[in-house]
Symmetry: C2
Subunit: 487 residues, 2 copies
Amino acid sequence: MNLFDQVRRITLIEQISSVLSWDQETYLPSKSAEYRANQLSYLAAHAHELSTSESYLSALAKAEAENLGTDPTHSANLRELRRKSDRAGKISTELVARESSIESAAHHAWIEARRQSDFSIFAPHLQSLVDIALQKADLWGFPDEPYSALLEGYERNTSSQEIAKLFDTLQDRLAPISAAAVEKSKSLNPSLPEGIYPLRAQQDFNAAVAAEMGFDFHSGRIDTTTHPFCTTLGPQDIRITTRYDLNDFTSSLFGIMHEVGHGLYEQGLPSDDFGLPSGSAVSLGIHESQSRLWENQIGRSAAFWNKFYPIAKGYFPQLKDFPLEKFLHYINRAELSEIRVEADEATYDLHIILRFQIERMLLKKEISIKDVPATWNALFEKSFGFQPKDDAHGCLQDIHWSMGGIGYFPTYTLGNINAAQLFQAAVSDPKIKSATEEADYTPLLAWLRKNIHHHGATHDPADLMLLATGHAPDTHDYLKHLTTRYL
Amino acid sequence: MNLFDQVRRITLIEQISSVLSWDQETYLPSKSAEYRANQLSYLAAHAHELSTSESYLSALAKAEAENLGTDPTHSANLRELRRKSDRAGKISTELVARESSIESAAHHAWIEARRQSDFSIFAPHLQSLVDIALQKADLWGFPDEPYSALLEGYERNTSSQEIAKLFDTLQDRLAPISAAAVEKSKSLNPSLPEGIYPLRAQQDFNAAVAAEMGFDFHSGRIDTTTHPFCTTLGPQDIRITTRYDLNDFTSSLFGIMHEVGHGLYEQGLPSDDFGLPSGSAVSLGIHESQSRLWENQIGRSAAFWNKFYPIAKGYFPQLKDFPLEKFLHYINRAELSEIRVEADEATYDLHIILRFQIERMLLKKEISIKDVPATWNALFEKSFGFQPKDDAHGCLQDIHWSMGGIGYFPTYTLGNINAAQLFQAAVSDPKIKSATEEADYTPLLAWLRKNIHHHGATHDPADLMLLATGHAPDTHDYLKHLTTRYL
């Protein structure tokens, strides 16, 4: 079987895992968790076995030898498959299966630990997760520190020292903006009209917005979960989930706009190349730029609500006499909260920087697992001026570590930075600017399709940003956006 | 890896297919059908490869050689695994994958053919399905006719000649009962009060009934589909689906009671032996006996409704002044209809016998594919006195052939026969009889658990019936039941 057929077969198996994971988060009966974990572990090992097999390696070598170098997409595909293969080849199938089991157990322990706000329940699992992360980093190798080896899996060709530098600058510049934004927001006393925002009305309004953004419901769907996410189950099967707050329809709406941003990226990838690098998302930092662009640059803008606020009133009668201006204050309020997923734009990155610092200290062994809660609380107080009320609202709040996602957090802030930069580049075209001001997003989506989606993973993320915007990612547009919106 | 570990691993993979199939029927976006078909085809081939591998065969031979014969369950497991292995070994992995592709294409063609009521769209696919069925029957071998080799996959150790004999008797005795039941029912002019039976109220009432029957919602769930079914996704994951008629709550209710009957069997199998014969359902004829027992023996009985009619009135106010007696006439009405899935107990088997006859003629090559509609209509007229209005209401109405299920239909009637016989045996215990008359089904379920569920597939279906009821399956109790209920 030739290389690309083998790649497509491995992808087919990986997408089977995605179906099982999606079902696990949405519909799985409680007693079936263990069996499902065994199925996922089997599939992970099976896919890994195929992607490190003799047959795969020789097909890759053959394709490389036969490559004439005249087709840049083909060359990029081979280059990225080689990168992936070299990385996978350093990890044994046994380690993949063991990691999957550790993550399943850790995930259950984390749920219980968070429920009881008892870090000691999660601590031994976090130790195993960090141990296995370090083991993998050692196998993969790294130029500077283990963190870079983990980050590579989410954001290729990006070192943790670059991130540290970027985040240091950001933190310095962000601190006064956040503080001022919070002060200003407090003075506006933002609120939303009371009364139930019915589930069905929320679902219908969200679906109308998603369709307007360009989401294809014949290639995707929306379901309900505790933790909103977007996942790809196949080239024409993009699933979004959200949760509903009956007292605040904007909670599910911004969740949907965020996840639809991810979904549009997935639906916009070249579907004939599904599974190949040229048909795959390039990195989490680029992925998150798509979700944050739609959620924040668009979803919290006055232009969007000039069109959609009257429509929202049709779904939610209590908005009828509530002025648009006050509504905009509400959805753009800034406040210092303990919970990352509830944080606003002006303070969100402070949460990310804190997590990056803790992960890095753990991997450098500057702190040990038992120090995590105290370190978290101390760093949190430095940025936010108070301590979380308990670990459930502190170091136990996020799902990521429990799923083995150490090194993942920085990509959220990269996403914010990229989103602002991409949006600025897009609206520098007067046609896109004027359409966007009329809340017509067809030209904007077309720009994203052409400049981001259609490239798949053929360029490094930083190069893709350079090609799309004319400069490598920096914080300029993002800080300008925050200043304009919040101050 | 020892034999049982290998069996469990193959089961694990087969259950992954079940997850994908369930999702395909419930939530899959329309454009993703082809990719899903490829995934299912891959998994079918992969599972088949493992179950016919050298490693599997030698583990089986080793276990057989080491078997001391002192543990009857262990011996039964080895005997049944040998039977399955010999059968699987005769089919190539290539044939399994090809069959899966043919079925996917046939299924889509059937949907379209039924929609347009145009048999010619489905005909070439049906030809391929019959060809592959005959090819498999030849590979498997048979003592009498190819039909038996196919039937063996659903109802082991049962020949098509036995079925033919049983059905001939049944048809002769059933014809006058059906005719009289239809006449009598017509004179009662059965009806249900008009007005919408709201979806949510139907779902809540159904769930209450399912729980009362003993269905464990921590090991299962109910979703919505066009075609109701019950499927097992793991040892603690039994999924039921139904559809809703807003003008008639009894449609989804009896659908649920039927599928919950299947679900209770699956939930009652020894879960530690999941994947082994001792932890598996024995046959479709026994499976269907469980669903039909709960749907018909229980669900359409006066005893059930003495308890549940007042409860139903709480959900559906329009029943308030409608007498129970008239309601019982409605749910036990008999009529000559074209559609099998809407048929009542008194006429259902006439539909099955017709399908059995046509399948048998096709496999014996007594008729060709193009003759199917005319043969169907002629046989239908003989039994029902009129012809279906079109092929969508005739030979295109059922999903089974399009999914490769040739030889499957007879098990429905076996289920009806077994259900009556099991119910009679159970209520011959006075304690079970009196509890059942009070609509307390705990003792009945305990009897089914002990006499059917706990045995898994360690006995042949006919032997299991003999052990549970004292005699091999015959039509006596069933005909008596129909006579009592309808005449």
